[in-house]
């Protein structure tokens, strides 16, 4: 947060600023952590000026943040403005009450080759084609494949006539923007840039609006910095979690992240990002692969509004996730 002087509020006179400075109040943070009215050495004549200045600073801060909203407004907003982005596979959509919800962070947890990246790419393709919306795909492990995306888009657009198909295909490809970040700092910079660019260009209502951010995988940039006795890694991890949530909640964007698994102490698998990270995603889907069968199962392990008792089985074909051929 900025220094108080940078706010350029008329009531913050140079005398008052220097009075604050003698008490060590320079930035907005300092202002917030102190009880301003209890500062010693304030002349009675200045107390009115001080009160005015405090009110003005607080009003300034209040403007910068979202205001209190009542439950009825939140409910109406959800009914009218929030969409569920379908994943392109019906069983999974019904598991998720209709798909990835805008304004939430969904996480896929699973060992490698469990279909995490496939699901990420499929959702991106569907959002780009069906909604004509922008997708930011942040690739941290070089797993994004444009050939695979091309296959998926081709199969999605198969029903359309040849003339329209090429245009739609090109448009969909344009809509998916792939960024690469291989360490936590470049990832933070990238997310910050994304946040400021969204704030500056208020989102257009229909096409061209950013609706989905995919981070595949978030754990591969974070897990190298975790561990040891230094808490710096956790701070960076939570900073990434915080900005992902901010992007999602403030701009009604669906965020999809992936988290790989590691072997825990007792030989069981556990997510690479542990207890602290659990407070980040709204929805957590656990992916597993049945041995040798080519069957994948997604089970819900955390959801902000429904019980976690359901599963969906699928297999992965040319066009992406599909119903399990062997069983259905």
């Amino acid at each position: 947060m900025p220094p108080l002087a940078a706010l350029a509020l008329p009531s913050l006179s140079p005398e008052l600023l220097s009075f604050f400075a003698t008490h060590g109040i320079v930035s907005v943070e300092d202002f917030l952590i102190r009880d301003i009215y209890q500062l010693p050495g304030l002349r009675a004549a200045d107390s009115d000026k001080l009160r005015k200045a405090v009110t003005e600073v607080l009003a300034f801060l209040e403007n910068g943040h979202a205001s209190w909203r009542n439950g009825w407004d939140l409910f109406n907003n959800l009914e009218h403005n929030i969409r569920f982005l379908p994943t392109g596979y019906d069983s999974l959509d019904s598991l998720l009450q209709g798909g990835l919800r805008e304004g939430t962070v969904t996480e896929l947890v699973g060992a490698s080759s469990c279909g995490k990246t496939q699901l990420c790419m499929q959702v991106s393709a569907h959002v780009a084609v069906r909604f004509g919306a922008m997708v930011a795909y942040i690739d941290t492990s070089n797993s994004f494949s444009s050939e695979r995306l091309e296959q998926m888009l081709n199969d999605l657009l198969n029903s359309q006539r040849e003339v329209e198909k090429t245009g739609a295909f090109m448009q969909a490809l344009k809509n998916i923007v792939c960024y690469r970040a291989f360490d936590v700092y470049s990832m933070l910079i990238l997310l910050q840039k994304l946040n400021t660019s969204i704030e500056n260009h208020s989102q257009k209502t229909h096409s061209g609006r950013l609706r989905l951010i995919v981070v595949d995988s978030v754990s591969s940039v974070i897990s190298p910095i975790l561990g040891g006795n230094i808490s710096q890694g956790h701070t960076l991890m939570m900073s990434i979690g915080q900005i992902l949530k901010k992007l999602a909640v403030d701009n009604s964007i669906a965020v999809l992240t992936t988290n790989h698994t590691v072997t825990g102490e007792s030989g069981n698998f556990k997510p690479a990002l542990g207890e602290s990270w659990k407070s980040v995603p709204h929805v957590r889907l656990l992916l597993r692969r049945e041995i040798a069968d080519g069957i994948y199962v997604a089970s819900l392990t955390k959801h902000s509004s429904q019980a976690c008792t359901k599963e969906a089985a699928f297999s992965i074909g040319r066009s992406g996730l599909q119903a399990n051929v062997n069983h259905e």
Partner: protein, 407 residues
Amino acid sequence: MHILYVRGGSKILKRALREEDAQSPRYSTQGGRKGWVGMEEMQAWVCPDETARAMLGRVLGHRLPSLAPTPPLHRLSLRPGHVVEIVGPSGCAKSEILIQAAVTCILPREWKGVTFGGSEGLVMMFDLDCRFDILRLVHVLQCRINEVTVRHASQDKEESSSLPTTQPSQLTVATVEDTNELFKACLKRFYHKCCYNSFEFLATLKTIRPQLQRMVEDHEKALQLVLIDSIGAYYWLDRACQSTLPVASDSYRTLSLQVVFEAVVRELRQILQTHPFLLIASKGTIFSSSTRDNPGNRDLAHFGQKEYPERLCEVALNQEFSNEQFRYRTTTEKPSKQTEKMSHREYMPAVWQGFVTHRIVLQRAHGSASEVTYAVDKTLIIKAQWERPFLRQVDKFIIEEGFIKLI
């Protein structure tokens, strides 16, 4: 035989002793002489203020119903001014308990002759985790309203079954409209705000007064419940926070977790002075169970948990002679030695710990929450135990549709 409860007993004793030292005869039937204690005066001293029966009547008569009577918070009577902390790992229904408490608070006590058992107050939720889902609140609210109206309707049916039923369909339509109106009114009493860091949270706390004034005037209802989900959300961020600005003077206080929470507690206390409310905060355990066992870790949670007789007395006094508590104490069989004290690792600064008056610990009944279990947990059973004040009983509950049910 009567047991008398006398106020100011020590004062009487001191004065009586002093009189004894002075001279005899100690008692005079006339009384009123300087330095002498009159018999009537003495009798007035030892005369009981009230009998236990009268006191019980007085205490119970003044007792308001608990603001959060839903399980697992049902064992204690929670009132404005209390600060409850719900501790547990992820996936232990912490947010669910907050939502249940909110729904109880926003529901009216009575609506068009139907008893809903709520307290019709305002609820404010600081969503520090940004994971509040309005759908869940709506679902829980609808379940509660439905349950009550269905029960009420069936009661009506029983009462009117002797009479010929005239127009049952019209009656149900009216109830649906009524419940929609009720639903809307309830939701409007719930206020929510997302915060992304501690300073935003602090700014919200500092600017809350005019907002609160407006809300109270709009609804003509008092703020009863404040929820924080979850208070430890910015632990890692605040631990690292430092001021980048040059140190200006000696009185400069560097930013730290401690300083941030001092400010949070101070602001909350100030708001509590003008608007008494019940504060319920959830707190996730950010350290997994494996790190908890490290020998180097200070396990503050274990501290002061040993059950001394004094502690039990303190617990009994805290209950304010509530007869339910005594019933619990006598009827529940003594737990076996294996009954573990559910522990967790404390990580919040002491200033917050001192602010908390009640603490309940949650845990999954079986399996470790941190491991990936490949079997879908169809019956998630959660254990709950009060740590402050310490109660032996471990409640087990499940979440079924929109309700928390004890098992």
